[in-house]
């Protein structure tokens, strides 16, 4: 693992607060995942790839945005690994890496929609703005 | 009588310190204590030091001798330290009086040479009180706070300091500082004394007397039922005895250093359960007995053996320091009051 990857891995581990080494590779996260079929990298792979520093493919994967953050994997994992939190951390890393301001405050009023939950706006703003 | 200005006091100290080690009370965060004078040291105006100046003559712990063995021989080494002359400055009337009480114990035959050595090398400069506090009751024992004894007596007014030698040592010291002092009359001193005596009359303990105590009262007081109540909350700590200027009990103990044995003595307290423990055990088994011992000693036994002199000087330290606020005044009020009835 080169230094940059190692730093990125550490950063993701730090942000997520997840210790991927605790994974015993049972696959219950993937077994439980409702978005499994939409993903090219499945939750258990996600954990393993972060652990082994193979993060670049994750950053560019569609899977990253297929996770519904339903936390089923977090709830079911027998080892308390919390894969969804890792996904979220990699998302943040992707956003930060791009370094762009995807969502400006001024844009928001235009996006508002009665059916859109308030929480989604706030969380989107938090995620996609700098 | 000689005097110097308050400003010149530092020069006086400097002069004294040239010939002897000078100790004086210095303020600290937690009350005043005696410190060695160095240039710039400021003397405390506090009424009293936390620990009494008896430490100078009777320190809490003192090495007496050392034994060393090699093979079958034992070598005895005198651990007495070479004493240099020293001056204790600013001792209050009550504490000055305490030295008389200690002298009667230590200097009588058989004379305690360790104590005597220190007494010989020490000169006491007293300081008259001007602001006694509520815990003061020296007048109960006939002490005049405004007219302290000592080798050299001092009075400090707002502008000047007055000196009066009482002993040969005092004369010598006064002579030594003659260059920085001048002759003076005692008008200012008399005025100050008058004022102080007036204040003394207003103190809450001004009415406390030794009536009912003294020589010959043992039988009457020993079995007084009040001792039980008085002593029941006593913790049995040594605070009162260790802050007391007149308590003079000590224990002699051996300490194995690994190279030999150091024999030392240290203060002991009659409040401790193992005080005067002998081969058969302890003569005073309950805290009541130990408590009674302390006050009977101060107020009855000591005067009995020492021409009616009480071994309390009314400095008030134990009143201020007892963890449970039990003290000689409460004892005197309770038991002495009873003798009146």
């Amino acid at each position: 693992m080169n230094k940059e990857t190692e730093n990125l891995r550490k950063e993701i581990v730090r942000i997520s607060g997840v210790n991927p080494v605790k994974c015993m590779r049972c696959g219950k996260c993937s077994a439980t995942c409702p978005a499994y079929d939409e993903m090219e990298y499945h939750p258990h792979q996600f954990v393993y790839m972060v652990e082994s520093g193979d993060i670049e493919p994750l950053l560019n994967s569609k899977s990253l945005y297929q996770c519904l953050t339903c936390f089923a994997c977090v709830d079911r994992c027998p080892r308390g690994v919390e894969p969804a939190k890792l996904v979220e951390a990699v998302r943040l890393a992707a956003v930060r890496k791009q370094g762009a301001n995807h969502l400006k405050a001024d844009d928001i009023p235009a996006l508002l929609d009665e059916d859109l939950p308030q929480q989604a706006i706030v969380s989107a703003f938090r995620k996609y703005s700098k | 009588m000689r005097k110097c200005s308050i400003q010149a006091l530092d020069t006086v100290f400097e002069t004294i310190a040239e010939a002897a080690v000078l100790y004086l009370p210095v303020d600290g965060d937690n009350g005043a204590s005696y410190k060695k004078w160095e240039k710039g040291t400021v003397m405390s105006n506090a009424l009293n030091t936390v620990r009494s100046p008896k430490d100078f003559f009777f320190p809490q712990s003192e090495n007496l001798m050392e034994f060393r063995t090699s093979g079958k021989t034992i070598e005895v080494i005198d651990k007495r330290e070479e004493k240099e002359d020293f001056v204790v400055f600013g001792v209050r009337a009550c504490d000055v009086k305490s030295f008389d009480i200690l002298d009667r114990v230590f200097l009588n035959e058989p004379c305690d040479s360790y104590y005597a050595d220190r007494r010989e090398h020490g000169t006491i400069v007293s300081m008259a009180c001007t602001r006694p506090v509520e815990t003061c009751f020296c007048q109960t024992f006939g002490i005049d706070a405004s007219n302290p004894a000592g080798d050299l007596s001092c009075w400090k007014t707002e502008t000047d300091v007055y000196f009066q030698a009482n002993t040969e040592k005092g004369e010598k010291l006064l002579a030594a500082i003659a260059g920085v002092t001048e002759e003076s009359d005692d008008t200012a001193v008399k005025a100050q004394q008058e004022k102080t005596r007036e204040i003394m009359k207003k103190l809450p303990l001004a009415d406390l007397t030794t009536e009912g105590f003294g020589a010959g009262k043992t039988a009457e007081l020993f079995n007084a039922p009040e001792w039980k109540e008085l002593s029941q909350s006593c913790l049995g700590c040594g605070t009162c005895t260790f802050v007391c200027p007149t308590c003079q009990c000590y224990d002699i103990k051996d300490f194995k250093t690994g190279k030999g044995v150091i024999r030392f003595r240290c203060w002991d307290s009659c409040m401790y359960s193992d005080f005067t423990k002998m081969a058969h055990g302890n003569p005073r088994l309950s805290q009541l007995e130990r408590f009674r011992q302390r006050f009977m000693h101060k107020l009855v036994y000591y005067p009995e053996n020492n021409d009616g002199v009480y071994s309390c000087v009314g400095c008030g330290r134990c009143l201020a320091k007892c963890p449970i606020s039990m003290n000689i005044v409460k004892v005197m009020r309770t038991i002495g009051g009873k003798a009146d009835e």
């Binding site: - | 300490f255 690994g258 190279k259």
Partner: protein, 145 residues
């Protein structure tokens, strides 16, 4: 290793009978050198070491005190070293709080198989204590000279 006249710190090592004392024996069996100023006192279990013994050693002139016991979980008496761990954690933290150099005290787990670790630990500990110089902060002047 030791030049005569050079400052030699005195180290007292309390070793439990079952693991660490045997570890020290193994260091001997394997002829692994460690400084001669390390002196071992055998105790049945590290939990026999009273904080008073540690202070006593410093009083009497030790410059460093080390406790060696079985690894946690391996105690011959099942739980002794767990108590040691708590007691010494608190004691050493307190000594440090009082400004006494923390490098002077240590607890090390040494199994009966770890002769090499025993020797290495003693070498390293002695060096660390030597770097501090003589114990001045917990000394008893009466025991010096």
């Amino acid at each position: 290793m030791q030049v005569k006249g050079e400052y030699k710190p005195l180290i007292v090592a309390f070793c439990c009978n079952w693991c660490s004392y045997a570890g020290a024996d193994l260091a001997g069996n394997n002829r692994l050198n460690y400084p001669d100023n390390v002196k071992i006192i055998k105790v049945p279990c590290s939990c026999r070491v009273n904080p008073m013994f540690v202070l006593r050693a410093f009083q009497r002139g030790a410059d460093g005190v080390i406790l060696c016991g079985c690894h946690p979980g391996d105690c011959h008496y099942t739980s002794g070293n767990y108590y040691t761990r708590r007691r010494m954690a608190l004691l050493f933290s307190m000594l440090n709080y009082l400004g006494i150099e923390k490098e002077r005290t240590r607890v090390e787990w040494v199994s009966a198989a770890e002769g090499a670790k025993f020797a290495a630990t003693m070498n390293e500990f002695t060096e660390a204590v030597a770097a501090l110089g003589e114990n001045k902060r917990l000394e008893d002047l009466r025991c010096k000279k």
